[in-house]
Amino acid sequence: MSAPFGRRVAVVVSRVELGAYVVLEVADDATPAAPGQFYMLAAVERWGGGEDERPFLGRAISALAARGERRVAFLLEDVGPGTRRLCELEAGDDMYLVGPLGRGFVPPEDGQEALLVGGGVGIPPLAMFQEAWGGRALLGFRDAQRAPGASLFDNPEVATDDGSVGHHGPVTDLLDRVLGEGGEFVLYGCGPPGLLEALRVRALRHGVAAQLCLEAPMACGFGACYGCVVETTEGYKRICVDGPVLDAAVLV
């Protein structure tokens, strides 16, 4: 299913704070996103003039949920001028939207158990995955301000870096325990580069398949600029059109 051509204006219908995160719900009646797909977002008003006179380009943001019929939701963390401006948007504000874009996750086959391993603001594609296809969620957060992100999941197991919520340590501790129990697993991962690399290594070591949702700075999100590449066994691939979800086996 393809996205409408061009950027469109959509209205923010709600803004809810979830600890350090902001959840925006936006009215949109285009093709719903699949888990792992993303949109390029920008505010219609005052996009620019922040830190370093940025933002200028749209920002790639994963779909969190295609709620009901005509809604799409996003989870945002203020990490710079682009996400800061998006986090400021209130119900009634206009937003530019291009998408849904990219290739999302492929669901597990019968008899396989999906392990959804997410870190921080990387959890939205996994929340959407669980809603669509189920799966056991293992989530890592920095601290108690971010752990409320776990409320987007059914029965999540949580780890925090500072030990304030759940297991004290990296989410890979939880994963190692589950992998140790044995089973027909497929890993689905999204989060910071360090986590994705840890998942890639574990997938290799345990001989399990892994689909990882990658990130790179993006100018366009639709394959036009060749700016978002990652090195793979088949050369550089554009994360926006060949991903963002890639099979861990092709990563180097």
Binding site: S2, P4, F5, P55, A219, C220, A224, Y226, V229
Partner: protein, 290 residues
Amino acid sequence: MIDFCGIELAHPVINASGCFDVLAARACFGEELIERFPFSAYVSKTVTLAPRAGNPPPRLWESAAGMINSIGLPNPGIEGYLDEHLGEYAKLGVPLITNVMGSTAAEFVALLAALEDRSEVAAIELNVSCPNVATGLDIGADPRGLRLLLEELRPLTQKPLIVKLTPNTADVGACASAAEEGGADAVSLINTLRAMALGYGGKPWLGGGSGGLSGPAIRAVALAQVASVAERVAIPIVGMGGVSSGADAAALLEVGALLVAVGTESFRDPAAGARISAELARLFAENAGS
């Protein structure tokens, strides 16, 4: 209709090379892209003789009202382009301009030879922003070298030759006029301005070390360079650099461009070209009415 070097174009807005991959865009947006194709001609990304992987990431840096890229001209090489891309581009229903770059005159000669029999190609754009191995200067930054290159290439093809001038030169007007003397049918400008960005620890951020600045940040430079080239040459000019509205396009036409190309703005809005040409048509209509 606009007559550009004998090619009929429906309106004056085309894409800037390397800023719109129709094959990827079609995969994202489907048939609507073709039905509402924003450009009156399609310019390919730069094609070189041998395939190129491009520069290591990171390739992008966002700057004030613009961006710096060090993409490094990834492309499948001329054979891959002819076998895999050109046939698909031909389905767009607009004239095709193939942008090529050689690092020597001999490479340009081979690229022109490969394109000569392909009727799908309406014109050839020569990217001369490649450093000359002998002098270290961009081929396009040296007026004499540029004239000699064009004198060698002009007799080799029936197709119009557009020279994509580099802005990284002391006197772009002299370069444009040298291209015209050498036999160029048109010039296009501006390419990106050489730029760099520092990341953590004061190290260059971009994988390629430095890159090229584009977007609104270079719009005023583009206007000045197009204006100075227009004073020096009689051949058609394709103006580009930071065009993000019909008014920006009108300004380039006002100082002497026949066509305008949209690059970076398409990243922010894939359909920017359509909006810009509609705004431009409205400006023309208003002016005609007043």
